[in-house]
């Protein structure tokens, strides 16, 4: 009985995870610019990996589970870092389609922090030129 329950739960987890992977693949092809493609790709990197690995852990003997859980842990740790760095570089190299952006708070900040504009004395120092 409990075997059947574990099988059904793990099958649902794996199928939903694989479905998320497929959705993120579709998004990767159809979305218009780099940051939105990044948004689609990160679904596979977090939710897809996590669900499939959890479904697989339920089906493997206990001795094999640690390596699978390490995969899930590492992709949860690394996907945000990759996403952050790629999105930052996409913004700075103008790979963002500006007319699709509804609210761009960073642009107004970057304009505010330009040293040529008369800044108030309590403003932060502008970032050092790289």
């Amino acid at each position: 009985m409990s075997d059947v329950v574990v099988d059904v739960v793990s099958a649902v987890l794996m199928l939903v995870g694989a479905g998320f992977c497929l959705l993120s693949g579709i998004g990767l092809v159809r979305f218009p610019d780099t940051v939105s493609r990044l948004h689609a790709a990160s679904k596979a990197q977090t939710l897809g990996v996590l669900l499939v690995v959890l479904g697989a852990v339920l089906q493997t003997p206990a001795g094999k589970a640690p390596s699978l859980l390490l995969i899930a842990l590492f992709s949860l740790l690394t996907a945000p870092v990759t996403g952050h760095i790629v999105a930052r570089i996409a913004y700075r190299t103008d790979a963002v389609e500006r007319r699709r952006v509804v609210l761009d708070e960073l642009a107004t900040r970057l304009v505010d922090e330009r040293p040529a504009e008369g800044r108030r004395p309590d403003d932060r120092e502008p970032p050092a030129p790289r």
Partner: protein, 88 residues
């Protein structure tokens, strides 16, 4: 469970094909970095599912190394692109 793993494997493979399409089409280098990162992840997911489908547990920690290599590769190529744009 083998059947379910095989169905899931088909879905992940389709996603991988789409990622390869984006990798080829591209337009910018950053799009290719994103697609390649997704492709590495999909490879890892597919290998996990393949392990289940064939009840063959030889892969083990190789997949951990592969996902970490994908991470390092994405970061390195993204930084390289940034530096190249700075030189213009």
């Amino acid at each position: 469970m083998t059947t379910v793993a095989n169905i899931a494997l088909v879905l992940v493979s389709l996603a991988g094909l789409l990622a390869v399409g984006r990798l080829a089409a591209g337009p910018g280098a950053l799009d290719r970095v994103v697609a390649l990162d997704a492709l590495v992840t999909l490879t890892v997911v597919g290998a996990v599912l393949g392990t289940l489908a064939r009840s063959d547990t030889t892969t083990g920690y190789v997949l951990v190394v592969l996902s970490l290599l994908g991470f390092v590769g994405s970061i390195a190529s993204a930084r390289l692109i940034e530096r190249r744009e700075d030189m213009r």
